[in-house]
Symmetry: C2
Subunit: 360 residues, 2 copies
């Protein structure tokens, strides 16, 4: 089966084997050694010297952690959104009482650094900006370096949903001064879902000391205190730690630059292949088309559910549909994590056969 | 290795094999079929017809979910606590702005139903009672049937931390009118950590409709809406679902009454064995000693860390130490989930050899 959705992604055999390891004491030496091995490897791939915590939960839990740890109810927050996940980030902040200004960009387009700059100029009381590196719902990667630079002109907190981009697409956490960066294990990391990983800058710690949003499970202070003992505050998803320990070694062996280049190459191959089938990309400008997920416009007479079903049942290829208002209008091909040229070729071959069969 | 801590517990081979299954689409039919198989099996073991949700997180996340979904800041809450986890439940409620009255019981003793009744009589404004079925930190099981009966005289919400008891010790969710019951996958369920399971009564849903504590990730309405589609709101810890699907079949095949009887038998064997070594139970009254974890008083000249180290290094038996103020004063033997007479015999034999070696 070709699982070509933007997460969970397929896992290499070595990773799956690690998942089947017997349990250990999460308050013992073996776990401590493991978290003390994994954390620096992740920091390397986050390109950061900041604190980094591994939380048991989905990526959305990591987004919630980012917000509740550095903000207070009533804080003004600018949410730059160009899709489902940008909206989600804003929704979480609102659920916890932030005063959210939504800076919306047309779906299919990236976040515009100038618009962010203007919004920050217009309201000096904004304390933090929420931004999505790679918008999974539309297959668009924003220029986070430029967006961060715009925000850094104003010394605001930058909270980044990098769930489906980090480890696949360049993100220089420290160089770009990103304060909290969130990712999830089931994306580029080649392991099953169950862990959210977050980095926390000095500036974020200062905000944390004042932050009044209620929190317990996701609290960074608790995570820090326990990490000093080689532990997590609550029983962690041990099996995904085993898996991550293996997959991070694979990523480091390949080298981060090579991992990025592979994702760029396979994304390019996917986009070319899709276009050669007479299909078009949802991304308005191919320059911002994502290297981890390609969103493809449905043909006028195409039934997307039928296409997915034919691909799954006849060709053993699983693609994702559109989310929210894009349901039925696009389909999405995941090409992140453990993916090769052969996988993309197989996917495109199947797509070429299935498209003519998928008329509504 | 005998992993005899109160979670994570060892997993049967079939369960570990399930953990190594390749990823699937969490928004596809195979996952939907699986969650629609697992949910009724869990309801059976929770002895409930209530809604039941499987959340990706630790047990503590499930406790947070119980609180934030049914309460509002300022609500009066009675927290009956006889250990670390009872205190934690109270701490979570306080972190989210509840006005918590702490009804504390001496550690080693159970929650006293009469004291709960008196506390509810004394303050008619209390809206909910937090109670721990099985206090993992002290190895004490309260008489939840009697405690619930006392609470039900007043028509208050009953939120139960059943993390280390459910599936091992009888808990009749519906018959005892428990409104939210929380457990965690790494306890009696014989699977790795990563999932919290919670049941939600009609009365809890009514409270939920009015509840104002901020929530997003743990929100029961979102869980319910997605479960109707055979999904979870956020990417779930798929591997532990695979594992749970297998382990629940094992539990149902054994039969709930037999599972309870096995835990009672092995706990009795543990307690007898410990006493025959000249050690004493931390539980003040053996009638309330837990059938899932036995807390043992350290001898006056015993170094608990040394005991644990000798057991681990020389005899391949892993025991837990004491938590919080009990650190160094007790050690704990887990006997829940996948455990047999042979396991307990091996553990007790090792303990008999290690105790004389563990003088401080």
């Amino acid at each position: 089966m070709q699982l070509r959705i933007p997460g969970p992604t397929p896992c290499p055999q070595e990773v799956l084997q690690a998942m089947s390891r017997q349990m250990i004491n999460h308050r013992g030496k073996a776990f401590g050694d493991m978290i003390n091995r994994i954390t620096p490897k992740l920091k390397n791939l986050f390109q950061t010297k900041n604190d980094l915590f591994i939380l048991t939960g989905s990526g959305t839990g990591g987004m919630e952690a980012a917000i509740v740890n550095v903000l207070s109810p009533g804080d003004k927050v600018l949410a730059a959104s160009n899709g489902v996940f940008g909206d989600r980030f804003a929704d979480i902040a609102e659920a916890y009482g932030a005063e959210v200004t939504r800076l919306k960009f047309e779906w299919g387009k990236p976040v515009d650094p100038d618009a962010v700059r203007n919004a920050l100029k217009a309201d000096s009381k904004i304390k933090a900006v929420l931004v999505t590196q790679n918008e999974t719902s539309t297959g668009v990667t924003s220029d986070l370096e430029a967006v961060s630079a715009a925000i850094n002109e104003f010394d605001k907190l930058i909270l980044v949903d990098a769930i489906s981009g980090l480890g696949c697409i360049d993100l220089k956490t420290d160089a770009w001064k990103c304060d909290v960066v969130v990712t999830g294990s089931q994306k580029g990391w080649m392991v099953p879902p169950g862990l959210a990983m977050v980095s926390v800058s000095e500036r974020a710690w200062k905000a944390h000391a004042q932050a009044k949003m209620p929190r317990y499970y996701w609290d960074f202070t608790k995570a820090k205190n326990y990490l000093e003992k080689g532990q997590t505050p609550w029983t962690p998803c041990v099996s995904v730690f085993f898996a991550l320990d293996v997959s991070l070694d694979m990523m480091l062996k390949e080298g981060l630059a090579n991992v990025f280049a592979r994702h760029a190459r396979l994304a390019d191959m996917t986009r070319s292949g899709v276009k050669s089938l007479g299909l078009s990309l949802f991304a308005a400008d191919e320059k911002y088309a994502s290297n981890t997920v390609t969103a493809v416009n449905a043909l006028p007479n195409m039934n997307v559910s039928k296409l997915q079903q034919i691909l799954r049942d006849e060709y053993k290829v699983v693609l994702a549909g559109g989310q929210g208002s894009l349901s039925g209008k696009i389909f999405r091909i995941g090409h992140l994590g453990w993916v090769t040229e052969a996988d993309i070729k197989e996917t495109l071959d199947a797509l070429g056969k299935a498209v003519p069969q998928s008329k509504s």
